[in-house]
Symmetry: C2
Subunit: 142 residues, 2 copies
DNA sequence: GGGGAATCGTTAGCGGTGCGAACGACTTGT
DNA sequence: ACAAGTCGTTCGCACCGCTAACGATTCCCC
């Protein structure tokens, strides 16, 4: 039975999301990059070059956190760092060719667990998730 | 437009869930207990007394992690620890009266942010989440 | 132009959360 | 009775986020 009230929905949804997040993180412990790194790299690819601050805002993370993430991506050769043409304070982060290749390659493998679980659901449940994914994204961005 | 393929759905859902999890964790930094502690305590309340190992399995966490969570709950007087009646190796964790009270009191406040966001959605989106919450929970448990 | 405020990215340090390996206490099975 | 297995714990590690503080640079306004 679905949760009836808004607060009940909030409780259920919160617990489910937290548990699923933990689960997904653990299900890909073998891969080279962490979810945080992948998310930042994917954002750079989707959105084009960004300053650390912009990228931090887009990922809802503080600038110091993004500094570390960007440093790890750069150290791995997956992202590049160039000086801002007109503002000496700023820096532009962009995905490198290696980063693009890794994203493409990783995209095929990284959702293996979740995609498999999704295939095990029936069509109605998948449709629910399909719509919910959009709503969840708006919630996270709100 | 909703994601079309299973892999696209997996990508979208994964990113949305991770971001929302991060968001929710940060949105309640003021409260006394962390989400992990609340989740464990709520599981104990829902399911009755459990051994650390059982609780770890239910929360999809390793026993060492649950040791620390249980210790913090016990130190806060929210959970009790009793020896297993017949097996000297085992221990039984249970919610204390204070724990029950805190859960009840906290339940009213802890979802404030999420519940408010939910109220800002339209009815259709809420219904989607209502159904999705169930599916997500099954996914996390799978 | 010059000087203070604002902005940017970074460094340093902290807390929370998870893991695996190793260990002692206890139980079980032979 | 003794070896093997189970349970909970301790220890050390890694990841991820935060705040506070700092130097470099730019902007604003006189």
């Amino acid at each position: 039975m679905p949760p009836a009230t808004d607060t009940a929905l909030a409780s259920t949804l919160r617990l489910a999301v937290m548990r699923l997040a933990r689960r997904m993180r653990s299900e890909r412990a073998d891969t080279a990059l962490t979810l945080t790194q992948i998310a930042a790299l994917a954002m750079l690819e989707r959105h084009g070059p960004l300053t650390p601050r912009e990228l931090a805002a887009a990922e809802r993370v503080t600038p110091p956190s993004m500094t570390r993430i960007a440093a790890s991506l750069e150290a791995a050769g997956l992202a590049t760092r160039t000086d801002h043409p007109s503002d000496g304070r700023q820096v532009l982060l962009a995905v490198s060719d290696e980063g693009v290749a890794l994203l493409r390659e990783d995209r095929r493998r990284r959702d293996a667990w979740l995609a498999q679980r999704l295939r095990e659901l029936d069509q109605a449940d998948r449709d629910v998730l399909r719509q919910a994914a959009q709503v969840l994204d708006r919630l996270a961005a709100a």
